[in-house]
Each structure stands twice: as structure tokens, then as C-alpha cells.
Symmetry: C2
Subunit: 260 residues, 2 copies
């Protein structure tokens, strides 16, 4: 059975997509794993960040799964130019779909039920989530065995981390689904901002000590540039600090989640 890892954070712009894309790629390429990258954010940034790897989608996306037109995310998974990496893209109707499923009984379990087949075909499934704790993120949490929470070094992001960790507690207690916190990932760390970094690190260590991942992702323009080029950072700038950091992250995650 696959490890299913949601990359989620309520705060916008903290590096969820950048992390989901580069982590999925690194696990497939450097750890020889069969990886499925699922995009449940209606912005659809997984397909744009990797546009040179993922053939243009024919319209089918996550909405077809949530609305029951397709039975499993495996049916909408597309191969990419990297062996071992498949992508299930988002689609433009996902905003409307979220509204439509809102009234359904068991609305938060749709993605879990629709990933049974995929879980037998892949070693790891990575889910890129939107910047909120709405129905789509809830679906991802209930379909996941683990959650990775990126946070930039800001006080605004920190508050969102607490809200999400509380939501995980609710998922465990009220919905009876044991989703583990794979860890908290510090992102966009700018070495020049010592005072802010120290203040935020202290708060993160105090609240999440052992769950704070050792790997941190520095501010590195190669990450943003690689998205402009539609490639993973490893292809665009293999020697960059961003590529090194996401390679380290893949190693740490594969070790923590028992993948290899």
C-alpha cells in the first residue's frame, strides 16, 4: 500500500506547490519510487510548474473523481517524461465542484474512496492542497496516511500551522482517521533575516520540537525560475541550493516514512 502524503498549509504562498512538485520528482528520480502527484488546488499550479514534463491535460481532472464520473484517481493519472512519476491534475471546475460536494453525506471521504486502486499501483502519493482548510483539504487529509506542513519564517504562517494541527486532531478524534504529522518544513528561509528567523524558530521548536524536519529550504531564485521554465529544480539548476535542499528533504521523508 502506498504512503499518501498531503502537503498542506492554510497560509498562502509558503511553498506547498514548490515542495509537492520537487519532493515527488526527487522521490521518483533519486529513490526509484513509483510516485503519483495529485493536485487538488483549483489554481492548478502543479501542471504549470511542470509544464515541460506533463503533457497538456485533456480536461479530465480531480473534479471527475469527486463528482463520481471516474472511479479512481488512477484512471486520471497521466505519465510524465520522468519514469516513475505520474500526475493527476487539477481542473478549472474544482471551485464549483467543492461547492457541489459540500452538501453530500460523507463529502470528506470521496478522495479516500477514489484512491483505493491508486494506492496499490504506487509507492507514494503526494497531494498538493489549496491555501485553506475547506472541503478539498479535508478530503486530502482523510485520504492521507501523513501530512507535511510547509511554513515560511513568518508570524502569520505560524498561526496557520496551529489551526492545521488542531484540524488533524479533529480528523483523528471525530472522524476516526489516524493521519500522522510527517513533519513541519521551514521554507523560504532567508539567511539575512536573523532576528525574525530566530523568533520563529524558537516558537516552532517550542510547539513542535521533534516534528520539525531537520531539512530547511533556503530562499533560492532557482526554485522560482525553474517554475518559469516548467521544470523541476533538479533539471533546471541541479547545483543550486534549492535542488540540494529538496534532495535532502526527499532523503529525510523517505527515511521518516519508511519508503525505499
Amino acid at each position: 500500500e502506498a504512503v499518501v502524503l498531503s502537503v498542506a498549509a492554510q497560509k498562502g504562498g509558503v511553498g506547498k506547490t514548490t515542495t509537492a512538485v520537487n519532493l515527488a520528482y526527487a522521490l521518483a528520480r533519486f529513490h526509484d519510487l513509483r510516485v503519483l502527484l495529485v493536485d487538488i488546488d483549483s489554481q492548478g499550479h502543479v501542471a504549470s510548474a511542470l509544464y515541460r514534463l506533463v503533457p497538456p491535460t485533456g480536461g479530465e481532472g480531480v473534479s471527475d473523481i469527486l463528482l463520481g464520473k471516474k472511479r479512481d484517481i488512477f484512471e486520471v493519472a497521466r505519465p510524465t517524461r520522468l519514469d516513475g512519476l505520474h500526475v493527476t491534475p487539477s481542473d478549472r471546475h474544482l471551485n464549483e465542484t467543492e461547492g457541489i460536494i459540500g452538501a453530500r453525506i460523507g463529502k470528506e471521504l470521496l478522495l479516500r474512496q477514489a484512491s483505493r486502486v491508486a494506492r496499490t499501483h504506487f509507492d507514494a502519493i503526494i497531494i498538493d492542497c489549496p491555501p485553506n482548510l475547506g472541503n478539498l483539504t479535508l478530503n486530502a487529509l482523510l485520504a492521507s496516511s501523513h501530512v507535511l506542513i510547509p511554513s515560511d519564517m513568518s508570524v502569520l504562517s505560524l498561526q496557520g500551522v496551529h489551526d492545521l494541527v488542531d484540524a488533524l486532531e479533529t480528523v483523528r478524534e471525530r472522524l476516526g482517521h489516524d493521519v500522522k504529522l510527517a513533519g513541519l518544513l521551514r521554507t523560504r528561509v532567508d539567511g539575512r533575516n536573523r532576528t525574525v528567523n530566530e523568533a520563529i524558530l524558537e516558537a516552532l521548536e517550542q510547539d513542535y520540537g521533534p516534528q520539525l524536519l531537520k531539512t530547511q529550504i533556503p530562499v533560492n531564485t532557482a526554485l522560482a525560475k525553474s517554475q518559469l521554465e516548467g521544470r523541476a529544480v533538479f533539471d533546471y539548476a541541479p547545483a543550486s541550493t534549492g535542488a540540494a535542499a529538496y534532495r535532502d528533504l526527499a532523503l529525510e521523508i523517505s527515511w521518516r516514512l519508511g519508503l525505499s
Copy 2:
């Protein structure tokens, strides 16, 4: 009648809250305007970014307005330590509230109807929006005379700008509400990333030429630090490039919108 300005962008982390907070403050302090800052993002970051100015809220927030418990945003507007600036805060139930109002007839008009009184008491109302184009952002657009769209210099943010501009078109044509684009604001501009900046600037100029604001906001740690301190950047670091840029923005916006 007040000018009502939504600060909106589908992309997360592009500086919506940083812009709404510092623009509202600058209009009140440097242009002697009566300003109301409304937070319709359930993250509630307006209150955290200005925590030294805004007394802790007694629980009443935007949800009470959308659910009809309070008739006007004026009833929930709180004075701050800056003369001329009031804040209508968000609240923790706003996520649920968005789901509840989803099924109501005329759900997108609730905020507009609930701001009639406030519009007669203020010169400018600034609304901080969440990172999506859901019911809450739609309410803000329909309550607004203008929209300001922040965008960082990234390809992912650019796509979201097109979606929002399309949504404004739909609001005008289908819902018959004439909301004007006040302008596009370049944020988090890092002078070191010349190639990415040029590529994004070219795309923005091509698509939005005259609507691209002259003012741009540089990357400046004083902006993030001022939030850690709970103050507007003008109080925390009046000589910083961030403070200068937001002062320029207030000047450009007050001129473009005929405020003063």
C-alpha cells in the same frame, strides 16, 4: 459615499494582507481620511498584523454580518489607536459561515447590503480577501467600487491575475455590478532576480499596461518584522524602503480613486 476597495488575489502569499493593512493605515495617517479596514479572510491576519493597534476583539466579526445577526459592518467596526482608522475583524467561524451562506439566494450580495451605513461614515473602506475566488471574495467584489490586485513576480501569481480579471468581467456582465480595476500592484520585488522580474514585467505590461500601478513594493524585511511586532511598517521602521513604497502607494491610490 465611501470608495470601497477590495485587495484580492487568488494566489496565496502575494502580499494582500500586508498591502491592505499598510495602505489603510497610510490613508488614515498621511491623507487624513476616515478609513475602515475589513477582514473577510478566516485566517484573521489583519488583527494579528496590527495587534498593538487593535484592541482584542470580543468575538464579534464579519460572520455576524453575513449571518444577519448584525445589520452593518459599521456596527462591528472598532476604533484603533490611530485616529481615523477603524477595523472590522474576521472571526474563527468564517470558514463555516462561508459554507452556510452558500445555499442562500443572493449570497453574493450580503456584504454589499451590510455596508450601506458604513459607506456614509467613512471616506474609504479597504477589504482584505482570502486566497481564493469563493463566496467571501465574491461578496467583497460586489461590495466594492474598485479592486487592487497584488502580484509577486512569479509565473504562478500571473495566472491567478488573469482568473481574477475574468471574474471581474463576470461580475460586471452577469451580476450587473460595475467594479473597476484600481490597478495591479507588483509586490515582493527582489532587485537581485533580474531575469524573472523582466519576464514577468513584460507579461504584465503586455496584458495590463495602463492598469499596472507605477508604485512597486520591494522585498523588505521591515514589512515582515513589523507584523511580528503588531504594528504598521510606518511605526516600526519609518525610514525603510517598505514604508516609503507603501506611502507612495497611498498617494497613487488616493490620486487614482479621487480620494482627499
